[in-house]
């Protein structure tokens, strides 16, 4: 169980690092939001599952699952709200130059 939780946390950290690199490297708001949603949907999931596996069956595991459900419900809403605000404010998405 311990090994499983360590593997889960490491895999989650990989996605978190990739997302952080993406947030720095990608060119504009719209593409950066993809990187952020990458973190939110898979990195956080794997880290939290790792912690829940470490805890075993207990009330705190249920609470962690509740936090996870909360993240999964709210993160798309926040990402959508931000991107919609950006689009309505008249930002143009970055385009690859025709080469």
């Amino acid at each position: 169980m311990e090994v499983m939780s360590i593997i889960c946390i490491l895999a989650g950290l990989f996605f978190l690092i990739v997302a952080a690199i993406g947030v720095i490297r990608l060119p504009d708001v719209f593409s950066r939001s993809h990187a952020v949603s990458l973190t939110d949907s898979l990195g956080a999931f794997l880290v939290l599952v790792g912690v829940a596996l470490h805890e075993g069956l207990s009330p705190s595991m249920l609470k962690i699952i509740a936090v996870l459900a909360l993240l999964y419900i709210q993160n798309p809403v926040i990402a959508h709200a931000t991107v919609r605000a950006a689009l309505r404010a008249g930002l143009k998405p970055w385009k690859k130059e025709a080469s």
Binding site: F15, L26, F30, S31, H34, S41, L62, L87, P93
Partner: protein, 175 residues
């Protein structure tokens, strides 16, 4: 409590007792999770409070899924998760690639879902999948920002939409 205070353009359903019970139950479960104590005082207080909050906030009750639909959604989630893992790997590959081979574009997606709940579910699924994000929703039209060609095909191939349409085929359209 009537819904006369809403402007005429906004459609609002009357308070359904089903929705009230559902909301009370959800709030009560949250209360138990957060308090983690099982005295009579705590449980009774939680029940009263969650009912009060549900009652005060039941101005415009949204669509309440039937029991059958809940089951379908529960079976839909693992499938969505596999989808999320696939596209996460794809987006990671894009980001870690030295030359950053992205080609972002905005696409219009016309859907045939005639249901509020279905469109909300579709938009959330698209946003939750890395590589695509819903930027604007207007009834049956979604504007989606996709990171590259492969991500775009995720949306245009309508695999998510057909799945949701199969789930919602018994509901009467309300859009």
């Amino acid at each position: 409590m009537t819904n006369d205070s809403f402007p005429s353009g906004v459609r609002s359903r009357p308070i359904s007792s089903q929705f009230l019970i559902l909301k009370t139950t959800a709030l009560f479960v949250l209360w138990i999770l957060l308090s983690a104590s099982f005295d009579w005082i705590h449980l009774g207080l939680g029940l009263v409070l969650s009912f009060t909050v549900a009652w005060v906030n039941s101005g415009h009750s949204p669509f309440v899924p039937k029991f059958r639909l809940w089951g379908n959604i529960l079976f839909y989630l693992p499938w969505l998760f596999v989808k999320i893992v696939q596209s996460s790997l794809h987006v990671s590959k894009l980001i870690l690639h030295p030359s950053l081979p992205i080609d972002p574009r905005l696409i219009n997606v016309e859907t045939n879902l005639g249901h509020h709940g279905a469109v909300v579910l579709l938009g959330n699924s698209i946003t939750l999948t890395p590589g695509t994000i819903t930027a604007e929703v207007d009834r049956n039209t979604l504007i989606v920002h996709a990171l590259d060609e492969v991500s775009e095909q995720d949306v245009t191939s309508k695999s998510i939409e057909s799945k949701i349409a199969a789930m919602f085929k018994d509901e009467e359209p309300d859009l």
